[in-house]
Amino acid sequence: MNYPVWTVPFLGTTWIIGLVACIHIFISHFAVGGGMFFAVTEWWAYKTGDDRIYDYLKKHSQFFLILTTVAGVVTGVGIWWAIGLVNPSGTHTLIQIFTLGWAEEYLFFAAELATIFVYYYTWNRIPREQHLSLAIWYAIMSVFTLIIINGIITFMLTPGNWLESRYWLEGFFNETYWPSLFLRLLIMAALAGMYALLTASLIKSDLDFRAKMLKYASKWFIPIFILGPIIGYWYFTNLPADAVENIMTGIQSSGIGNFSVLARAIYLSMILSGTILVFVFVGPYLNPKGFSFNAALLFMVCGLVVTGIGEWSREMLRKPYVVYDYMYSNGILKDDAAKLNAQGTAFAMVAKWTPEGASTQRLGKDMFKYQCMSCHTQNGYRGIKRLLGERDEEAIVSFLQLLQESDPDKNPYHGIMPPLVGTDAEVAALAKYLATLKENEPATQHVAATTSGEPRTSLE
């Protein structure tokens, strides 16, 4: 409400972050897992003195360098652009709380980047011991980027004691920090194996060596399949009670469909993880000679899909917050929402970009933009027109009043959607606007901010 709103028709802004973030995760996790892979594999090559492994690593590092430094960096910057545009309130909160954390992350990242360039360009130019040291140094630097960013990502789901103390380290080392860190390390190792399967399947000169490397790459899945379920359970037991409740509701209502998409996504990721284990076992492990590049590619798609679903589920677990128990996904602080509704303060009074004396239509539109559009679109993803169904204006008012209820027994969307903030007149204006949406063709949307109106009082 303190920032202009970016609207993206049909896809919605959440998917902009989702798509950029998914690609970035596929690459950044490989960057860290790949670091561990280089260190261990080069150590293996050093111990055995096998030149073929060195040759393979050199080629693999070229692919690694290009992918992580070009696509990884571009999507990394892309995430900042996307979250800054989509959820500026959440972004500024994270920057303010973790200023020192971000600075540290940046330093490790710069060291990581510098090391990988040196690592690649010093192949066959420096003694093997020194090159191995570079691999180990890169692995350490890249793991440290995870150590930092993991604290910030987990903070958003479980802010821990920060909610009381407002001390950043208490938010950083929160309830899910350690299980999440170990879980991600396991995923990263598996992803490193997955990418290695792809590059190893391209070895053409020596088929026995190709089989050896494929079998070796498949062993990188062993840690996640032994420890994954245990650490996954550890993570689950540290989730906020309401998030667990949401999963349980979803499990019970999976057949009906209401609120069950998260539970169904979790089932899918569990099934896919199981089939991936069998796939690795019967494919590159038992039959490396018969494992083709195409199979590696298909396998990679499955692996990335599971990773994507896992990340998406984590994001969904946080609903309706962007910082759990502190800030809702539409950028309104939890305490402010309760205070405004209790005092009967108009939402327009705190929405900077809504002009004084705005028309009912403008008020309704702004209510929709500031309170609904962070999750809903008009016609596309979570399309409001489809979700409203056959409801007329009166029915929409009743529904919106339901969303203002703070009692979970009266509001079935409690814990799933943020409470609606606004006076009766504002709720009526929103209902009128939503009813108009249903009647009219979709209005042209602009990728632009509201331009008129003076900024008004802020709650912050």
Binding site: S254, I256, R264, A265, L268, I271, G283, K289, G290, A295
Partner: protein, 362 residues
């Protein structure tokens, strides 16, 4: 192998001749060439069939084949039974994917001319299995007793009645009377869970036995290579392990469909209500449905639908007869027949795709 495992193996081997089976499987080879990917299609259909058997058995625990309760029992499976929705979704999505897999299997076999001697009976049993799967789809579609199922079945049986000579008899046999009723549901249920599985078991047994007996067919592109360039791989373990790998991918697709788009249930069928707009059969019958819709009411003195059914019958008969018409380098017109068979297949496949999409878009 540890001593215990070794002893267990010896015990089983003495009774089941495992080593003999293993030796046979290891002796068998699979040609390796650019079209090898099509060899996996039959296996894909097979694994999906296994899913159908397992999930179908579970659904039977709660399904009630009685018109007053059928819809409610499916609703209960979907909403009250733990993971009932998942089992049902696997069954419904699995059926559709299986038929898709069978189409790939059918047309890849056709275009690689794998129906030629000595595989004529394998081809015919394969066609028989496809017909049985269509029948599975048709009978299973009615069982939830929802609006769309009821009216689509009604239309489907009406179309069957247009088959020349035996049509009316078949329609009455399916319906068990003049209207779709409890008798129809009972008959469809028995056909779906007993008659078809029993028939399928027998036919599939023969089909798989013949596949093992004759081995994988070698396409022309492979046969014409010099012997030293004809690379093969062992059926066991190499091909079997690859098969398992592909099965995992297929199960992933099935799991994704079942979890992300659980199979729905329409409102309960009301036989006295007017038919809803836009009744369509399942996608694999859609091409035929669309063609029948386009044929005029009368073609000369003959009723249009009779003509349509005759046309489908003719295409089916030609497919069945193809191994006997298009044979290995026999007769002076052999090349011509081979080309004609190829183009006939292309026309049928293109027609199937075009009319199916057309039907979907309408």
């Amino acid at each position: 192998m540890s001593t215990v495992t070794q002893k267990a193996y010896q015990w089983l081997d003495a009774r089941l001749s495992i080593s003999a089976w293993q030796a046979m499987a290891e002796k068998k080879t699979v040609p390796h060439h650019e079209f090898s990917v099509w060899y996996y299609m039959g296996g894909i259909a097979l694994v999906l069939l296994m899913v159908q058997v397992a999930t179908g058995g579970l659904l039977m625990v709660y399904y009630i084949p009685e018109i007053a309760s059928a819809h409610a029992s499916i609703l209960k499976i979907n909403t009250q039974i733990d993971f009932g929705w998942f089992i049902r979704s696997l069954h419904s999505w699995g059926a559709n994917l299986m038929i898709l897999g069978l189409f790939f299997h059918l047309f890849s076999t056709y275009f690689m001319k794998a129906y030629r001697a000595p595989r004529e009976i394998t081809w015919l049993t394969g066609l028989g299995l496809l017909v049985l799967c269509f029948a599975f789809g048709f009978t299973g579609y009615l069982l939830p007793w929802d609006e769309m199922a009821f009216f689509a079945t009604k239309v489907g049986i009406d179309i069957t009645s247009k088959t020349p000579i035996i049509g009316e008899y078949m329609a009455t046999l399916f319906r068990g009377g003049p209207e779709v009723s409890q008798v129809t549901l009972s008959r469809f249920f028995v056909i779906h869970v007993f008659v078809l599985p029993a028939s399928l078991l027998g036919l599939l047994g023969i089909h798989l036995l013949l596949v093992q007996l004759h081995g994988m067919s070698e396409p022309k592109v492979f046969r014409e290579r010099p012997k030293e360039q004809q690379s093969v791989e062992k059926f066991f373990p190499t091909f079997v392990l690859k098969d398992l790998m592909i099965w995992m991918l297929v199960l992933n697709v099935l799991a994704a469909a079942a979890t992300l788009a659980p199979w729905g249930l329409g409102p309960e069928a009301d036989p006295f209500a007017p038919a809803p707009a836009g009744i369509k059969p399942e996608w694999y019958f859609l091409a035929m449905f669309q063609i029948l819709k386009m044929i005029p009411a009368y073609v000369g003195p003959i009723e249009g639908e009779h003509v349509g059914m005759l046309l489908f019958g003719l295409v089916g008969a030609l497919f069945a007869a193809i191994p006997f018409l298009d044979r290995h380098g026999e007769g002076k017109n052999h090349h011509l027949i081979s080309e004609a068979a190829k183009w006939f297949g292309i026309v049928v496949l293109a027609g199937f795709i075009i009319f199916t999409i057309w039907g979907m878009l309408e």
